[in-house]
Amino acid sequence: MLSKPNARLCSQCKGSRRLCGLPECPILVRVRQQLKLEKLRETRTLYSPTPPSVLVGEHGYPRVRAGVNLPALGSEDPRLFEDPGAWWGRLSLYDIIRLRAGLVFSYSVSHVKAAGKLSEAVQEAALSLKPVDSEAVFRRPPTPRLTFDPLLKPVGPSAPVEQLRVVGNPAIPRRVDQLVLDRVKAGRALVELYEHGYDVYYLQRLLSAGVLGVEKRLVPTRWAITAVDKLLGDYLLGKLRDKPPLQGYEVYHSSYIGNRYTLVLMPRPWSMEMVEVWMPHSVWVPGEQAQVYTVHEWSDGRPSAEDGGYQAIRFAVLEELSKRGRQASVLAVREITPEYFAPVGNWQIREGVRNALRRGPVKASTLEEALEVAAGLLLTPLREILSRSVLLRHLKVQRGLEEFLEA
């Protein structure tokens, strides 16, 4: 019996292709056995507190699956099932998968615009800041399975519902209730709530559940996550425009579940580049050769490509810069090692960058010095990064116009 899975194969297979040659995925079998997921096969009704956790699918848009995740197994505090801020740095990848496998996605299919009675329950749950008791009556028992996605947290067993009710009292902040009733445009509502101190994960949930905006509609959770990052990022960037640059170079670093973030902040007007390095044998990279992927933006704030991971980094960086009231040019290197054998959602990107920035910088007075510090933190050779970075090349060779304007 294979006790420790081979990360290289698992990352390609994600439990569905049987690449290890065994009849069933040992990771999923272990999760299933530990959690006694098989027990779920007899479950027809489930009464438990949702953290709250809601999910709107994108498949079949505009007719999508929408529902809440209800803890079926495990005795943890219900909050822990959906709390990226608390997970980061504490739970192992396996802990997270195990935790999420114990949630039953209790869904119904509906049109994003014509939300019926079942999606009303989803919306009520989504609005709550605290866990709220809910009850699902399933049309058929949950299928024990797990699915992974780069943006979403792992999704556990799922079952269509006949009935979904919020039984407890959702804790809904008055301000939120007001914005929902007043049909304030979703963009404005999100900015206002963010300024009031609500975290992005709550805002993602509100947007996805379709409670915000003039015309309420469900938003597939994957889209909502990136939409919130982009919208708040743009908003924070707008506020930074007339702020001075940093005073020197700063290097930050963090590492968690096989994701290593190294950030170099440079004293320049805003611009940013993400260099994503999939180390050999990491998720989706079977070969011996590292795969490098880059996205950048200049001062105009328009990224060169649509990418959810990039937006998550951008938001976290802009959040910090805006707290300090300083602009910077940012090189963000994300290295993914084989240790990250299953993707658990892009919250780990956002939290990884937030944690790196929280830890404080190593300061440097020149770009060369800063890059040397970064080189010590990177697994990838610095020259590899230098050869791929459009931003560093730009900073090195692009002259500013002001030096020519002085008479």
Binding site: P269, S271, D300, Q398, R399, L401, E402, F404, E406
Partner: protein, 247 residues
């Protein structure tokens, strides 16, 4: 009180889009001599310089110098609503800019004026050694070609020729503009010059501004900024200055 009437709202839309390529927010300055706007992009690599004398307007009434601070995102949205044949009226009173598109119906948009703190930018005094004139479409096409392989282009002028060269490990693209083949309308080379500019910026500028004028005038010198001028019918100019890359 400021009241400006421009006969063709569409044309004004292209000018606004040309400005929006470089700046997000900026102030027009209306004086009795004309309407001006000069601003740097947020990355301080490019500058845009618009001058519209009273003669390009159907009506030009500016009693005292006035600053008109606008968000270009919003203004572009409004101007996109202009239909061909619409007349444009811009009025400033209090802290509002009123944009009227007058066609079959009179549509009035009121925008708040922004208070933009910005330093006065000096008029650049640069010694350009090369000046050339060509169809803006020709220049735009050459950029599109160069974009296929590289992120910057080298402009090189010698004798009666202007070369645009893009090079990377993907390959090389070279465009030759010359008087004899008709791709240049004028060229004046005081001394041979060579300079490199980022395509991102050039493309952003040219892909909008080519609609303002069929003809673009270029001026540059070795390792010096590039000046692109688009003339507006009636005597106005839309001018850009782009800092070079020095490798």
């Amino acid at each position: 009180m400021v009241r400006l009437v421009f006969p063709e709202a569409r044309e004004w839309r292209y000018i606004i889009e040309g400005l929006a390529a470089i700046v997000e927010e900026a102030s027009f300055v209306a004086t009795p001599e004309g309407l001006k706007l000069r601003a740097l992009d947020p990355g301080r690599v490019a500058m845009v310089d618009l001058f519209m004398p009273p003669t390009v307007f159907e009506e030009y009434k500016v009693e005292a110098e006035a600053k008109i601070g606008v968000s270009f995102d919003d203004l572009v949205d409004v101007m996109k609503r202009a239909k061909s044949g619409d007349k444009l009226v811009m009025e400033v009173s209090g802290n509002r800019l009123t944009v009227t598109l007058a066609g079959k119906a009179e549509r009035r948009f009121r925008l708040p004026l922004l208070d933009i703190a910005g330093q006065e930018l000096p008029t650049p005094r640069l010694n350009f050694t090369v000046a050339a004139k060509m169809l803006s479409d020709t220049f735009r096409d050459a950029l599109k070609d160069a974009e296929l392989v590289a992120e910057s282009v080298r402009l090189k002028a010698e004798d009666e020729n202007l070369l645009m060269i893009a090079r990377s490990d993907k390959g090389e693209v070279e465009t030759r503009f010359s008087l004899s083949e008709g791709s240049l309308m004028e060229i004046d080379v005081k001394e041979p010059a060579e300079a490199i500019y980022g395509i991102d910026f050039l493309d952003k500028i040219v892909s909008k501004a080519y609609r303002v004028s069929d003809i673009v005038s270029l001026r540059f010198a070795t390792n010096m900024p590039l000046e692109l001028t688009f003339d507006v019918a009636g005597g106005g100019t839309l001018k850009y200055l782009l800092a070079p890359r020095v490798e």
